[in-house]
Symmetry: C2
Subunit: 205 residues, 2 copies
């Protein structure tokens, strides 16, 4: 892997390539081309070749990409050739769904901690996952050395949770609350808010 | 509203501005500035002024933006000054959570139809929302004249659902299945997949 700075937008496409390669491999394929991969992800073959070549020469002119090899390379580059423990804060519908979601583990993530602030939920379990009191969040996350968190609390509580996470080693936050949160430098945030996606599309209707 | 072609990336930021203005208004504010709005959404004041000026002169030098006025203008531009009926396909954890989500209505959307393929779910209700047999999807969506749908089925079924939606008037799809779907020209798709967001961030850890 080179040390040069790769544009963030390219990094953002790699998980899509990896996801498609997983499905190709699951269907029994062993070799693919930038054309075929492009068809799976809706991105041009030229763009895919350019993106992947940022990280080295992983394909051969004429024979294409070895799926297993490219998959392993992308997992290394994205640092998901290991499993990251993740904390979920807020165990309403979204947090509950994330805790039960089966799709994280083979993509590099394991929900290890869950927090809520309601006494009915604290102490209960989702599968093997114990819902803990949100007042314990800083100590529990630090003790578990967790770097990745998902915020699934209402908008009014999200900044407060982000402020608590700032006292931990969490460096990557996926925020489901429909609000932009302020985080310290060095912490990355991405957002999931279905209504903003829908509004983006209704413009064109 | 002008007829010139506005870059899609600008359209994508408008829902964030609108969301922030909603919260500002809810907190009792009546006037804001591009600086303040920028602080709420993590975008520079200059960018915000540039984005908004694409659609007309909505602010005054020195006095800033009237929140209620700008909110109404953005709602008009994004066409969420009305309520769009939405269909959800797949009533697992995600579909169920979306059906119960309280945040859609004041942002322009109402979940009107829900579909699943399991006999235990078909005929049951979530609040007032009846879960219908997925085999009825084309007729039901056409009859209700629905333009917006959310796909929340497993990856293996998503393309099949997309193919059914292609026989309806649906022109905007929010896809929660971790797969890229093929849709006819003129249909827009956006994707929500938490693992791709997380993998995008672990690259930087």
């Amino acid at each position: 892997m080179t040390q040069k700075k790769i544009p963030d937008i390219i990094i953002g496409r790699l998980p899509l390539y990896l996801r498609a390669l997983h499905r190709m491999a699951a269907s029994g394929a062993t070799v693919t081309s930038s054309q075929e991969l492009g068809g799976w992800v809706g991105i041009s073959a030229a763009q895919i070749r350019k993106d992947i070549s940022q990280f080295g020469e992983f394909g051969k002119q004429g024979t294409g990409y070895n799926i297993e090899f490219l998959k392993e390379k992308l997992r290394e580059i994205l640092k998901v050739d290991r499993v990251w423990d993740v904390a979920i804060i807020g165990m309403g519908d979204i947090g509950h769904g994330l805790a039960r979601y089966q799709g994280f583990l083979d993509r590099g993530f394991r929900v290890a901690l869950a927090f809520d602030n309601t006494s009915e939920k604290i102490g209960t379990k989702i599968g093997n996952l114990l819902i803990q009191d949100i007042t314990k969040i800083v100590d529990a996350i630090n003790e578990a050395d967790i770097k990745v968190a998902m915020i699934a609390v209402p908008a009014d509580n999200a900044q407060e949770v982000a402020d608590q996470l700032a006292k931990t080693g969490v460096k990557a936050i996926l925020c489901y609350a429909p609000i932009c949160i302020n985080v310290p430098e060095g912490v990355r945030v991405q957002y999931i808010d279905p209504a903003t996606h829908l509004q983006w599309m209704t413009y064109y209707l």
